[in-house]
């Protein structure tokens, strides 16, 4: 009886296109499309269009007085040629790679170690883990200002500590010495991003079934073997996601550069994202700024692809 009634209702819907449309809006394909269309329109308007605008700008000749118009002289790849023939380009790209690799490595390793540490259920573990998130909540500019004091050459806390324990005999000018300036920002960035890594990795660790470990322990596997054969393989998707997100966040990092070294001295701590801003808003060379941003978009797209592929497992699993 149920079946025959549904069949009648279906036939009735087919007969009337409007009611069919309304019905599909309620629980059919139309509703699905609507659900997708709203966020998609939002994304296109707020992310897609500026992105396209940025790419277009990198092929145009732009100065501050043509900023308000869209139709500007088309110069093809001139801006790209100009950017890549500047002497500072390769050092800055190298800095960007060092910054990204060192930041991610630091954030990931310390974050993973902390996450493993907090899986040992000791009293207060939850609270202390929560406290670590404070660093993630702090605005970059505030973190930068604090690290400015810590890293100050003449009166910095870090130099004082290092001197007291006998590691260094002379002050290190973290912000002004070309050998250290990039590392000053990396240290601050590792501090800023570690908690985020820790939380994501802790979630991944919690989802590994406990019986796997019990079985392995019964078979005589030691802690090290359990880590290599159970924890790491089971965490593959999480690690992929954390590293890709880390790459995106690190390439976005701007505040710390602005507040700690301003990319100096002599570009020794300058990275692509800060340089793009400098070109656009310090030298008013918007086209070159857009060119560097476009190159970075490509890099981030590659990272995003890796991220999406690594999370695909989770959806299927």
């Amino acid at each position: 009886m149920d079946i025959s009634q549904t069949a009648i209702a279906d036939r009735r819907r087919e007969a009337n296109p409007i009611s069919r449309f309304l019905a599909s809006m309620r629980d059919g394909r139309g509703f699905d499309i609507l659900l997708v269309a709203v966020p998609l329109a939002f994304l296109i308007a707020l992310s897609g269009l500026p992105l396209v605008y940025n790419v277009v700008m990198s092929f145009q000749q732009v100065d501050m007085f043509s900023l308000g118009t869209f139709w500007r002289p088309w110069v093809g790849f001139d801006n790209y040629v100009a950017v890549f023939s500047q002497p500072e380009t390769w050092p800055i790209l190298r800095n960007t790679v060092v910054f990204v690799v060192a930041s991610i490595a630091g954030q990931f390793l310390i974050g993973f170690a902390l996450a493993l540490f907090f899986t040992m259920d000791f009293p207060g573990a939850g609270y202390i883990r929560g406290l670590f998130l404070v660093s993630w909540v702090m605005p970059g500019l505030v973190v930068g200002a604090i690290f400015n004091w810590i890293l100050a050459g003449d009166f910095g806390v870090l130099n004082y500590v290092l001197k007291s324990i006998g590691l260094i005999s002379e002050n290190i000018f973290w912000r002004s010495d070309i050998a250290f300036s990039l590392w000053a920002v990396i240290i601050a960035n590792v501090w800023l991003g570690t908690a985020f890594n820790m939380i994501l990795l802790a979630v991944g660790l919690a989802s590994i079934p406990k019986d796997l470990y019990e079985a392995a322990a019964l078979d005589g596997a030691n802690a090290w073997q359990r880590f290599w054969t159970i924890t790491l393989p089971m965490m593959r998707a999480t690690i992929g996601a954390v590293v890709s997100l880390g790459l995106i966040f690190t390439l976005q990092q701007f505040d710390l550069f602005a507040s700690i070294t301003s990319g100096g001295p002599n570009n020794s701590s300058n990275v692509a994202q800060y340089w793009a801003w400098e070109l656009s808003f310090r030298q008013y060379d918007f086209a070159r700024g857009a060119t560097i941003s476009t190159v970075m978009i490509l890099v981030v797209m590659i990272a995003a692809t890796i991220y999406v592929r690594s999370t695909r497992h989770e959806v299927r699993g």
Partner: protein, 407 residues
């Protein structure tokens, strides 16, 4: 009568009378970075409250945003009527026709007379022989020194260094790492401040922004390198602005500092020692003097719908120039104004030196692509001081870049 009630009555009366002169009332907008402790906001308010049918809408903008904000506004047709712009960036707007040519208005004006202004500031509002603005105020840099430290190290506190060699020698004598004291503080930061501090040295030695790799300019940069290498100044000089560098002088961690009159009020408050100000040391005795010229200019945007009224506002601002120093501690860009004594002996003595130094102040540019020229000079300073290039090579590079810009 209760003030509030009175206000309400007044408001009611204005509303009744409103339509009668609504047609004559003109609103002009003024953009400047001044807050309530600085002249522009106060003068704009006073002018707005005068019974002249002109209302001023004032908007405060941040230093870093002045150029980008106003460019965007101009490009989209939303520019204000009047803007205060940093003097090296004036030409950028004037050369592109964004600022109004006020040469003829000034010629008719009873209040503004170009002859009253110092040549440097006046030069910065001039483009192609025409006037595109009025200097708002001016400043320059000189050498502050700690007289107590001079005395303690056996130097004569009334005979500050006059040449570059004397400056380096004095810095060596005053340098005292054990006591956390550097001989000298200045700023070689990779922004406009670095250029601002270095150009006077190049100019005294016969160079200039368009001629930056002369022998004298190379020697100047080599002296900077000596000062950094011998740690006569903190290595953080490369990343620290003038305000923070002077802070180390005020706290007794540097015996001398190169900076401007904007420091005076803070120094009076913070410095717990006897200090003085001397003219910037010259390459050798008898060499020409030079200094940097800072501060902002007034300009009217060419898109203004009320240029007459906007110019009236500029006339009012200029007529109040005599109040700049006593009320807000800024130096008027004019030679016809006697600055009154403040009653603070240290400040008055410093003011005399700054006014003399001002005679030698030279504008940066004017050139429409100043930010790029300045960047080339900053790059040379930083490349040399970090030891990545010799002063000669670095300045040769800068000259090549600047030649490309000057065409």
């Amino acid at each position: 009568m209760d003030k509030r009630l009175f206000g309400a009555l007044l408001l009611g009366a204005t509303m009744l009378a409103g339509p009668a002169f609504a047609q004559e009332n003109v609103t002009i907008t003024v953009w400047s970075l001044d807050d309530e402790n600085q002249p522009a906001l106060n003068l704009a308010r006073e002018f707005s409250e005068m019974d002249n049918g002109i209302t001023v809408e004032y908007r405060q903008i941040q230093f870093d945003d002045v150029v980008s904000e106003s460019m965007r506004a101009f490009a989209t047709g939303q520019a204000p009527d009047i803007i205060a712009v940093d003097n090296p960036e004036h030409a950028l707007f004037a050369s592109r026709g964004a600022f109004l040519d006020i040469t003829d208005m000034v010629a008719q004006s009873e209040v503004i007379d170009p002859d009253n202004y110092y040549p440097g500031p006046l030069n910065s509002v001039t483009w192609d022989g025409r006037l595109y603005g009025v200097p708002k105020a001016t400043n320059t840099i000189a050498l502050y020194y700690n007289k107590d430290m001079f005395e303690a190290k056996g130097l004569d506190p009334n005979d500050p260094p006059e040449t570059w060699d004397e400056l380096v020698d004095a810095a060596r004598t005053l340098n005292d790492p054990a006591a956390n004291v550097y001989g000298l503080a200045f700023s070689a930061k990779a922004n406009e401040e670095g250029t601002f501090q270095f150009l006077p040295w190049a100019q005294m030695a016969g160079g200039g922004y368009d001629n930056i790799n002369t022998e004298g300019a190379v020697e100047a940069l080599e002296i900077w390198k000596t000062i950094i290498d011998e740690k006569l100044a903190s290595p953080d000089t490369l990343t620290r602005g003038q305000w923070d560098s002077t802070g180390t002088f005020n706290s007794g961690n540097a015996a001398m500092v190169i900076s401007g009159p904007w420091e005076l009020n803070r120094m009076l408050e913070e410095a717990k020692f006897d200090w003085g100000v001397a003219l910037l040391p010259v390459p050798e005795e008898g060499a020409p003097r030079s200094s940097a010229m800072g501060d902002f200019n007034w300009a009217i945007f060419s898109t203004s719908e009320h240029p007459e009224e906007a110019f009236q506002a500029l006339e009012y601002f200029a007529s109040q120039d005599h109040r700049l120093f006593p009320e807000w501690g800024q130096l008027p860009a004019r030679s016809d104004i006697e600055l009154p004594e403040t009653g603070e002996p240290l400040k008055d003595a410093a003011l005399k030196v700054f006014l003399e130094q001002l005679q030698y102040a030279q504008p940066r540019g004017p050139h429409p692509e100043w930010p790029k020229i300045s960047k080339a000079i900053q790059d040379a300073i930083q490349a040399t001081l970090t030891g990545q290039m010799s002063a000669q090579d670095a300045l040769d590079n800068a000259q090549a870049t600047i030649d490309g810009i000057l065409g």
